[in-house]
Amino acid sequence: MPGRKTFISLCTAGVIGMILCAGAVTASAQDRELKVGYMKNPIQDASLDMMEKWAKGHGVKLTRVPMAYSVFMEKVTATLTSQTDQFDVIWHNDDWGQLWKKWLETTDDVKGMENADQWPLLAFWNDEKKLTVVPMAHTVGTFFYRNDLVKPEEVPKTFDELVSVSQRLQKEGKVKWGYVGGMSMNNTWFSLWWTMWSNNCDILKPLFERDNAKLAAEKFEPAVTEPCQREIVEFWWDAINTHKISPPGMTAYGRNEANAIFMSGDAAFTLVDSTHFGEFNDPKRSKIVGKVGMAPFPMGPRAQRPTSWNEIWGWAIPKGVPAERKQLAKEMLSAMMMDEAGQVEMWKKTGGPPPNVKLWPKLAADDKDFAALKHAVFDQTPITHSAYYFAEWPAVHRAYSDMAIAALSGKREDIAKVLADNVDKIHRAATGN
């Protein structure tokens, strides 16, 4: 009877086909090839272009393996902990520095690392005090303003000035909103946190501490009931409801919404990664081309000087990679670190500050935009790092965000109570509970 036989032969064919495919996949890629797992992004592509130059000159095939951001961290973590050699180089970020430190190759011996800025590397030390990253570009929050509406001397230097200048511009009908920035979960930096650090405040006690041992000694006690914290939550409540310098929907905004509103010309101020400067000046994407300036963060009432944050994106090498490919990868990353022309080109094309700090003075002299960024961000001293570096940090971030959004969604008189009610939640999040 044909029925059953056809069925079985179909199944067999399927299995054979599968085995053949599998064979084809594993047989390939034995010559000098380096696979880089990354997120598709102009800065990363520019950095990879530098690596490509080296690869071409040394007979190495560079394969770019882009991964969607939504699963990048999980997929790479799973790959790292299973010690496979699926990637030879991966995109690395300060958020994951402590998460991945056990699974990455040390990079102290990569030539060119001596030119890197030491401050952002804190997150990447492993337990033997060795580094596990090679920087690619800096990521820094930058305060942007509309330089066609605000003269350099009028740029707000304090929170109060931010409010008054915004209101003036709104009254004059020049903009619909004063400040717009991300506020929803995972965008907390662009409203709540830059004002928090600009008001001499932090999330856990002791304030500004990032050494995990010291934080553990203080039992990860939250600092959210400090007056400085209440002040900034009230500042944002007022910004939305009282002074109305920020759009009422802002508690649900991510980066896309905030940037869209700023780029349409409807807002005068925003704070977002410096790399968006290129986007703000792209005539295809923005309606405010050439009208964007950079300035230091406005200060809160408790600050003596402006602060900033300065972290890096980098590349890392998984421990599971065979020794000769590790060596090749290190040479390639070294070439990237020493490629001065390539890094300058990366800055010009993408707005990503070069990882080689020896280049900065020269670049600032030649390029007025870099000079502006340097003055706004790099010349200011960061009060602390823009994240904590222990495993439960994502949970703490989320707990903080929930607390702040809840406080901002309720009545002004209830803010202090909401903050107090959430101390326990944040503490439990930090201690893995």
Partner: protein
């Protein structure tokens, strides 16, 4: 056929309510209004999506402001090799997954329909219970399984899981088709010397073809738009369209203009498949 007597059906005009009180002309007008409203509601987001894809990058958020239109987004998207590859791969995967799923679940549904007893009951319970587990719990282990079987980032690595997730729903519906087909024809064939397989293949299946076509369309569309498995189980060797769309989202923002253009491009094959298969779908699904 329900045991409804004609006594229940004869009724006062009073208890009839709104519709029969209207004149036929008014009824037709109301009907047309309802039809139009439904069409507008269902079409509007898609229309808005198409509109967005035709705006330059500066106009994709405030879509209703400004009147610039451009096909640059489509140019840019279609010039990327990965998009073309992804279009091809998605098409292959959707078609293959449909064929495989139907093949595998037709027999399963037949078994559930024609037989009673512990084996069908256990089978149904098994496929039902495991269908209820949320994907979150098992996508990463699935990723490991495909890695270990060396089918990660290949067609098979995507096809097998897709087939697995369709088993419960399709078997249930297939059971319904076969329930509606009189088994006496199969008995007759078996008496005439046909084996069980023969009876299944030559007698039952041909009658179920309309229903199978209907499921095929739904399966094809579902796989075409499926995102989670494609995201977890593929990498750069086997680009899939929905994942390529997701790559326009990165940590620093979203290229919505390119994403919407890709989505509109993805709409075209789906539209063709639906237009073509519609009549079969309606005539086919019987439960």
């Amino acid at each position: 056929m329900s045991a409804v007597t004609s006594v229940e059906l004869k009724a006062d005009a009073r208890s009839e309510g709104f519709f029969s009180a209207l004149a036929p002309g008014a009824r037709a007008a109301l009907f047309a209004l309802a039809a139009t409203a439904v069409c507008l509601l269902f079409t509007f987001p898609v229309f808005w999506l198409v509109l967005t894809s035709l705006r330059p990058a500066s106009g994709v958020f405030y879509v209703h402001r400004g009147t610039e239109f451009t096909i640059d987004n489509f140019h840019e998207v279609l010039s990327q090799e990965i998009v073309l590859k992804a279009l091809f791969n998605s098409f292959v995967i959707s078609t293959a997954a449909t064929v495989l799923s139907l093949g595998v679940t037709a027999t399963s549904g037949y078994m559930l329909s024609r037989f009673k007893g512990p084996i069908p009951n256990t089978w149904f319970s098994l496929i039902y219970i495991f269908r209820c587990v949320p994907y979150v719990a098992w996508v990463l282990p699935l990723y490991f399984v495909t890695q270990q079987m060396h089918i990660f980032d290949t067609y098979w690595g995507l096809l097998f899981p897709h087939v697995a997730v369709h088993i419960c729903f399709f078997s249930w519906i297939m059971k319904g088709f076969f329930d509606g087909i009189d088994p006496s024809m199969e008995y007759a064939a078996m008496i005439d010397g046909c084996s069980r397989w023969g009876a299944f293949w030559r007698v039952a299946m041909p009658t179920a073809v309309p229903g199978l076509t209907a499921l095929a369309i739904l399966c094809w569309l579902y796989t075409w738009n499926e995102f989670l498995f494609a995201l977890i189980l593929t990498s750069h060797e086997t680009p899939i369209l929905t994942v390529v769309m997701a790559q326009f989202v990165h940590e620093l923002g979203m290229e919505w203009n390119l994403m919407s253009a890709t989505a509109v491009i993805a709409l075209v094959p789906a539209l063709i498949v639906t237009l073509f298969g519609q009549r079969y779908v309606i005539r086919g699904l019987r439960i």
